[in-house]
C-alpha cells in the first residue's frame, strides 16, 4: 500500500532518511518523540513536501503520479492542519459530497450526531477533541482504502479515544484496507497496530511486529553484581541506573528461563522509546 525507499529530506537543522512499508490489510504504527520526523514522513507520503532523494510509492505509484481517483481512496488526519475553521460541518457536507464519489451524507451526519458534533457551529469554536473527531470522521466517510493518521487521538479524553480506536479497529477488519498511524500514547498503538516503526532524529531505528514487541521484548532490572554475570548476547540497550542497570532485550524468555532472580518487566512501546531515545540523547549507555 505504501513503500518508502531511502527517502531523504534535508532541512537546515533536520534530516529525514527513512524506509518503511505498509502492506495491504495491515495497521502500522509510527512512534517517536516530538520532532523525531513522524509528520515529515507523513507529509512525504502525501506529497506535501518535495523529497531530496529516494522514492515514495502509494498504491504502487509514485506519489506525484496519484490521480484524483487514487486520492479519493486516502483518508487523512494531520496533526497541524485541518478543515477551514470558518465553516460549519453543514457547510462542508456538500463539498465532500462533490469531491468523493463514495461519500455517504446520511452515514456521515449520523456519525456526527453519535459523536455529538454540532452541524451548525463554526469549526473555529470546536474544542480540540471535537476538531479531531471531525477529521477522523471525514477520513472514514468516503470508503478510503488507506488511512494516514498523524496523532489522531491527540487532545481526546479517554472515552473519546476508546470510541475512535473502536472505529478504526472496525475499519481495519475489512482485509483490503491499511492504516498508518502515529501517536504519543503508546497504548493506542499497542491495541491496534500489527507492527510498529520507531523513528528517531529522522531515522528508523526499530521495526518490529507489535506481538513480538509485547511478548518477546522485556526490560531487565539488575544490580551491578547480576549485570556482571549476565549473558549480554541478547541485550539491545543498557542504561546505568541508581540500583544497577536497566537492559532492553528482545529475548525475554531466555532471561526468564536462565536468570530467575532477575526482575524482568514485560516489553512495551514506552520502554522501547525510552531506551532507544536515551541512547541518542547521550544517556549513559554501555555498548
Amino acid at each position: 500500500m505504501i513503500r518508502m525507499d531511502n527517502v531523504l529530506k534535508q532541512y537546515d537543522n533536520f534530516r529525514l532518511e527513512c524506509s518503511m512499508q505498509v502492506p495491504v490489510g495491515q495497521v502500522t504504527g509510527l512512534i517517536g518523540r516530538n520532532g523525531a520526523g513522524k509528520s515529515t514522513a507523513f507529509k512525504a507520503i502525501l506529497g506535501l513536501i518535495h523529497t531530496d532523494g529516494g522514492t515514495v510509492e502509494v498504491f504502487g505509484k509514485d506519489v506525484a503520479e496519484l490521480t484524483q481517483a487514487d486520492r479519493e481512496k486516502i483518508g487523512v488526519v494531520l496533526s497541524d492542519s485541518g478543515l477551514c475553521s470558518w465553516f460549519t460541518i453543514r457547510d462542508f457536507i456538500p463539498v465532500l459530497d462533490t469531491m468523493y464519489a463514495d461519500f455517504s451524507r446520511e452515514i456521515f451526519m449520523a456519525e456526527c450526531e453519535r459523536l455529538e458534533l454540532p452541524l451548525k457551529k463554526k469549526i473555529k469554536d470546536f474544542s480540540t477533541g471535537m476538531k479531531r473527531k471531525l477529521q477522523i470522521l471525514v477520513a472514514l466517510s468516503h470508503d478510503a482504502k488507506l488511512l494516514i493518521l498523524d496523532e489522531p487521538t491527540a487532545g481526546l479524553d479517554v472515552v473519546a479515544r476508546d470510541e475512535l480506536l473502536g472505529l478504526l479497529r472496525e475499519y481495519a477488519e475489512n482485509g483490503d484496507r491499511s492504516i498508518v498511524i502515529s501517536s504519543h500514547i503508546s497504548s493506542d498503538l499497542e491495541g491496534i497496530c500489527d507492527d510498529v516503526y520507531m523513528i528517531d532524529n529522522g531515522k528508523i531505528v526499530l521495526h518490529e511486529d507489535t506481538d513480538v514487541l509485547l511478548n518477546e521484548y522485556g526490560l531487565l532490572k539488575v544490580t551491578d553484581a547480576q549485570y556482571e554475570k549476565l549473558d549480554k548476547s541478547y541485550l539491545l540497550e543498557t542504561k546505568k541506573e541508581s540500583f544497577g542497570y536497566s537492559c532492553l532485550t528482545n529475548q525475554r524468555q531466555f532471561y526468564q528461563d536462565n536468570y530467575s532472580s532477575v526482575v524482568i518487566e514485560k516489553g512495551s512501546i514506552d520502554e522501547v522509546i525510552t531506551m532507544l531515545a536515551k541512547r541518542r540523547l547521550g544517556g549513559k549507555v554501555d555498548e
Binding site: 507529509k43 502525501l46 506529497g47 506535501l48 513536501i49 518535495h50 484524483q68 481517483a69 486520492r71 479519493e72 486516502i74 487523512v76 494531520l78 497541524d80 492542519s81 485541518g82 478543515l83 477551514c84 475553521s85 470558518w86 465553516f87 457547510d91 462542508f92 456538500p94 463539498v95 465532500l96 462533490t98 469531491m99 468523493y100 464519489a101 463554526k122 494516514i148
Partner: protein, 222 residues
C-alpha cells in the same frame, strides 16, 4: 468541470457566504450611492474591484492555520486549485459587475431618465472590469507565493491599487467618451474592435498569470 474544481468552487461560495457581513456592507454602500450622488459608474467599478479582492481573501482563508496541507490531502491537484481560483475570481468579478451595472442602469433610467444614455453609460463603466481582472491576475500569484504572513503588506498594496484603480476609473470615465473617440479615430478602430483587443489582452494576462501561479504552487511545501 472536474469534481475537484466543482468542490472547490462550492467551498469558496460557502466561504463567501460565511463572510456575508462584508457583502452586507457592500450593499449598504451601494444603497447610499444610489440614494446620494448618483455616480453609478464609480460604484460599478467599486463592486468589480471589491469582488476581485474577495477572491484573494479566499486564498488567505485556505492558507490560514496551515490549511493548505489538509486541503491538498483531499482529491485536489495543485493545478486544479490554481485553475479554480482563476475561474472563481473571473465569475465572482464578472457576475456581480453585470448585475450591479444592470441595476445601476435601471436606477438611472427610473430617477434620471432625461440624462440616461445607454451608450455613454456602457462606455463609462467599461474600464472598471478590465481593471478588476488586472488586479486579479496580478494578485493571485502574489497571494499564493507570499501567503498570509505577508498579506498585511499585500493588503496595503491592494488597497493602494484599489484606490488608484478607482481614481483612474473616476477620472477616465469623465474623459472616456472623448478618449475612445480619439483613440479609435487615431488607430482607425471602432469601439467594438477596441473591446475585442482589450478582451484579448486580458485573456493573455489570465493565461500567463495562471501559468506563473501553477509554477509557484508546484514548488511550495506544506
Amino acid at each position: 468541470m472536474s469534481k475537484s474544481v466543482k468542490g472547490l468552487v462550492l467551498k469558496d461560495i460557502k466561504l463567501i457566504i460565511s463572510q456575508m457581513k462584508l457583502l452586507f456592507v457592500l450593499m449598504v454602500v451601494w444603497a447610499i450611492f444610489l440614494a446620494g450622488s448618483m455616480r453609478m459608474t464609480f460604484f460599478v467599478g467599486y463592486v468589480a474591484i471589491l469582488c476581485s479582492f474577495l477572491t484573494l481573501s479566499t486564498v488567505n482563508f485556505d492558507e490560514a492555520e496551515n490549511g493548505f496541507a489538509y486541503l491538498f490531502t483531499l482529491p485536489i491537484s495543485r493545478k486544479d486549485y490554481v485553475f479554480e481560483k482563476y475561474l472563481f475570481g473571473f465569475l465572482l468579478t464578472t457576475v456581480p459587475y453585470v448585475v450591479i451595472a444592470a441595476l445601476s442602469w435601471a436606477a438611472l433610467v427610473i430617477w434620471q431618465a432625461a440624462e440616461a444614455n445607454l451608450v455613454e453609460y456602457i462606455v463609462s463603466i467599461s474600464l472598471s472590469l478590465p481593471a478588476a481582472y488586472f488586479l486579479l491576475v496580478l494578485e493571485i500569484p502574489l497571494q499564493i507565493k507570499f501567503g498570509q504572513q505577508k498579506s498585511r503588506i499585500l493588503t496595503v498594496v491592494m488597497v493602494g491599487c484599489m484606490s488608484a484603480c478607482l481614481g483612474v476609473i473616476a477620472m477616465l470615465s469623465e474623459l472616456l467618451g472623448s478618449a475612445v473617440e480619439t483613440v479609435s479615430s487615431f488607430m482607425g478602430l471602432g469601439a467594438g474592435m477596441l473591446a475585442l483587443i482589450t478582451a484579448g489582452i486580458i485573456a493573455v494576462l489570465f493565461v500567463l498569470s495562471y501559468k506563473i501561479s501553477c509554477k509557484i504552487i508546484e514548488k511550495k511545501e506544506f
